[in-house]
Amino acid sequence: MLISEIEEQIVSEFSAFDDWLDKYDMIVEMGKSLPLIDPQYKTDQFIISGCQSKVWLHAALKDGKVHFTADSDAIITKGIVSLLLRVLSEQSPDDIISASLGFVDRIGLKEHLSPTRSNGLTSMIKQMKLYALVFKTKMNQKN
């Protein structure tokens, strides 16, 4: 599925909630069900340190698509991480680099991506795009 299609899907899922608590309940559930990162990557080498919560991120290139796995020590952060993974994982480096991720604002979670929130998410998106850029460069060198 295209990134924009997944974004639309998420926006429609979240539009069902009037109450912010229900929305956060869902994020918490998503956080709890995020497939865990391979423990070998849950190290300082893969950490994206925020002041408030930590994020671990690993990326691998398979058949021209980037496969991300991630984790966080805070559940809400982890829930939002799982949304970002759902949108950006298994996509091509080019699509990841150009993704605008407007859905975060549309589902009312923009505050969590503010750099002042320092939960590691802003740096995580930057890091995901950097991985994509590196993979793109590698793919071009091979061609």
């Binding site: 956060y24 309940d25 918490v28 408030q52 919560s53 020590d73 805070a74 559940i75 809400i76 952060t77």
Partner: protein, 407 residues
């Protein structure tokens, strides 16, 4: 508690009347910054509407008026902390600048390779990093005293670190994470018996407790305006006159000089030697109004009311299953740091915020302490004299909501 005019006081703070997320704002982030009463806001407005001018050495009407108002506040601050002289009251940007000033000037004057400076593990970064870095630069040893399980300073351990190489002890009056009130009088007396001066970081002290620097006999006492109902960007360094006389200036510029020649400069007398450049006059006006406001209520009354709030919060919150209070010292200022089972402070703080309650989460600028406690941070509710028991009940309800959501 019933005699304390909290309703009247709340009406002095315009910001407290607002709603956040369609709920009445409950502000429990006072250890980070307090709100400002109308009197402080009005003083700043009045200054710009009637008195604004660069101070000192002006001969015209406004300059004389502004200078007099500025120096009047210095007299108010002197009286507020009971310093001997206004020469001992230096206006700074805040406690952070006060601490950096002493670390820099004291270090240059007194600290040699092999010397030692002692601080504690419960310090805010602003009373930790300046000493650590100064010690690195000067080849001195940076020593850190520990705490016990309740979060009380290991006083015997600190005393045992004092030796003939010790040049200074720098410690906080009140811990911004644990709430612990340190036995500074005892430490100062011990240090002085060994000819060691003591600096007190009073950023969390002056807003909660009556402070008398002569009675404490501390050598330096630093605090910020914005944590005591005054504006941001203004703070105070108190220092004993004899010590301040010996220290070299911290920043160079206008105001701090006496005479400038091409080949040398002589410096102004105290306190101006440490006040380079145009000062934050509006901040000083706001600080003056805040001190008058506090004096009007009375620091003893404030301390008593806040002690009641702390007691109430401690009892109510201790009843919550799975709560872990971080900092259970016998003598505490009015803040509670806590963790809820395995719930991350960021998760708890996010939901508590959505319920209209401002708390702070994270390491509270005390990473060495958080590292020692091996926790991911804490949730901290810090109370001021405009908070109420009813608001604490709301916090307890919010915590129960958080537990339901994450457990």
């Amino acid at each position: 508690m019933s005699n304390f005019p909290v309703d009247k006081i709340r009406s002095d703070f315009p910001i407290l009347a607002q709603q956040v997320y369609k709920r009445p704002l409950i502000y429990f982030d006072n250890a980070a910054s307090t709100q400002k009463p109308r009197q402080v806001i009005d003083a700043i407005r009045h200054y710009y509407e009637y008195d604004n001018c660069n101070i000192h050495r002006g001969v015209h009407y406004l300059s004389v008026k502004a200078t007099e108002a500025y120096e009047e506040v210095r007299r108010d601050v002197r009286e507020f902390v009971n310093a001997k002289s206004t020469r001992e009251i230096i206006f700074t940007k805040g406690a952070t600048e006060s601490l950096n000033l002493v670390a820099c000037s004291f270090g240059r004057r007194y600290v040699q390779p092999g010397d030692e400076v002692i601080t504690t593990i419960m310090e805010h970064h602003s009373n930790f990093v300046p000493w650590q870095q100064m010690c690195f630069e000067r080849g001195a040893k940076f020593r850190v005293a520990g705490i016990n399980a309740a979060g009380e300073l290991d006083v015997d351990g600190l005393k045992a670190q004092v030796n003939e190489k010790t040049r200074l002890i720098a410690l906080t009056h009140v811990s911004n994470v644990l709430g612990t009130i340190n036995p500074i009088r005892e430490i100062i007396a011990f240090a002085h018996a060994h000819n060691v001066p003591v600096l007190i970081d009073g950023a969390q002290g002056v807003s909660h407790l009556p402070v008398d620097v002569q009675e404490l006999d501390c050598d330096f006492y630093c605090f910020s305006g914005h944590k005591m109902y005054a504006p941001m960007g203004i703070g105070v360094l108190y220092g004993k006159e004899a010590l301040l006389e010996e220290l070299p200036p911290y920043q160079m510029g206008g105001e701090m000089i006496k005479d400038v020649f091409v080949d040398h400069t002589t410096f102004n007398e105290l306190p101006f030697k440490f006040e380079a450049g145009t000062p934050n006059v509006e901040g000083v006006m706001g600080l003056g109004a805040a001190i008058r406001y506090l004096k009007n209520i009375g620091m003893e009354n404030i301390a008593a009311y806040e002690a009641d709030l702390l007691k109430y919060a401690t009892v109510k919150m201790s009843e919550i299953e799975g709560i872990r209070m971080i900092g259970t010292a016998k003598h505490k200022a009015s803040l509670v740091s806590f963790l809820l089972g395995k719930i991350h402070p960021y998760d708890a703080g996010t939901i508590i915020d959505k319920l209209g309650i401002a708390v702070r989460t994270g390491h509270h600028c005390a990473m060495p302490l958080i590292e020692l406690l091996q926790i991911p941070g804490t949730v901290r509710a810090s109370f001021a004299f405009y908070n109420t028991e009813a608001e604490i009940d709301q916090l307890v309800a919010a915590i129960l909501r958080v537990k339901k959501m994450f457990e």
